[in-house]
């Protein structure tokens, strides 16, 4: 059955995201847009994932734990996890590799930890929008041991994308799914980058503002609208 998704949404934890990107605002907006499944993907962190899942508890919306990881190649990857436990295990493994540059909120923006009532509970002091000291090759090996999938993010972008930084999607990494941005259609993406036709291609909003969260436009064929089914479909289903 088709389920309508937006699997790349930032919260106010990402310094580049609007302060309105609170757990409740995100899940309510996603519901208004008629979405079935969303994923919370902040830069290098899962800090607001649990709060967003809790905020959606009474809504017919599945919130998938996620992260937008920046590897040492300065490429962004959407990581989606079947469970919060899997997300926490990955986050713990990643922690020694996370950048230790201090955030400058005046330059980059605030990095807010919020609870399920949208209350501010703290700030992340280390800058999240920088590269972790680990390569995609090592990250992929770790993700392969977890109930999780890693997806090159916004591959059509001129920066922070696997194609802009490495020239192409390396075929020795074993990806099954790639993500394109809202700037391009699947057909245009295949025309520009013919080699991606071998992958599942998904599109996400990469929303930093409430207004850009997708409407009920981008379906994925799943057995059920759950994080487990979504991750397994994106991870194991090949064209």
């Amino acid at each position: 059955m088709k389920y309508f998704c937006d699997l790349h949404i930032h919260t106010a934890l990402s310094p580049c995201a609007d302060a309105d990107m609170t757990p409740n605002n995100i899940v309510n907006m996603a519901s208004l847009c008629g979405l079935d499944i969303i994923a919370v993907c902040d830069h290098n962190s899962i800090g607001n994932v649990e709060a967003t899942i809790a905020a959606a508890r009474h809504l017919p919306l599945c919130v998938v734990p996620g992260m937008e990881l920046e590897t040492s190649e300065e490429v962004h990857f959407v990581c989606l996890f079947e469970t919060l436990e899997a997300a926490r295990e990955f986050d713990l493994w990643l922690t020694p590799y996370k950048p230790t540059v201090k955030n400058r909120p005046d330059i980059f923006g605030e990095q807010q930890y919020l609870n399920e009532n949208d209350e501010l509970v703290g700030y992340e002091e280390n800058l999240l929008v920088s590269a972790c000291g680990v390569s995609i090759y090592d990250v992929k090996k770790k993700i392969d041991t977890l109930p999780a999938v890693i997806i090159p993010a916004h591959i059509d972008r001129d920066s922070y994308s696997i194609i802009s930084n490495l020239g192409f999607v390396p075929d020795d990494l074993g990806f099954t799914t790639v993500e394109i941005s809202s700037n391009i259609s699947v057909e245009e993406a295949i025309e520009r980058f013919p080699h991606i036709e071998a992958y599942n291609i998904i599109t996400d909003s990469d929303s930093h503002y409430l207004g850009t969260i997708y409407e009920r436009e981008n379906p994925i064929e799943l057995i059920a609208p759950t994080a487990k089914e979504l991750v397994r479909t994106l991870k194991y289903t090949c064209k």
């Binding site: 040492s72 540059v101 400058r104 330059i107 929008v129 920088s130 590269a131 920066s159 922070y160």
Partner: protein, 107 residues
């Protein structure tokens, strides 16, 4: 040497002209995480990067001016951010190497 003087001597073009500051060093790099940590203050930074974060990185590292090389075009958002943050951004068709050779004679 001031940014404006460097601009004249090297035949660069302003994308955004900010406060005229002293240039005391040169740095070449395209990996923003590396630039953030290693670029010396007061450097003219040569890069092919055009995204909005070059402005933020410049402020963080105390860069005197960014020169976007090889004919790359800074994003609209980058220019807006540069205005907001008072960051000099210039551009050139030349490569980083050929520009650096000229800069080394001036600094």
């Amino acid at each position: 040497m001031l940014v404006s003087e460097l601009k004249e001597k090297l035949g660069l073009e302003y994308v955004h002209q900010a406060s005229d500051v002293q240039v005391s060093d040169c740095y070449i790099g395209d990996m923003l995480s590396v630039v953030m940590s290693n670029a010396p203050e007061g450097a003219v930074w040569l890069t092919v990067q055009t995204n909005i974060n070059i402005t933020a990185v410049s402020v963080l590292a105390g860069i005197a001016c960014v020169v976007v090389v090889e004919g790359m075009e800074p994003d609209v958002n980058t220019v807006l951010k540069a205005k907001e943050q008072d960051v000099n951004i210039l551009k050139t068709e030349k490569s980083a190497y050929s520009l650096a050779k000229e800069i080394s004679k001036l600094l």
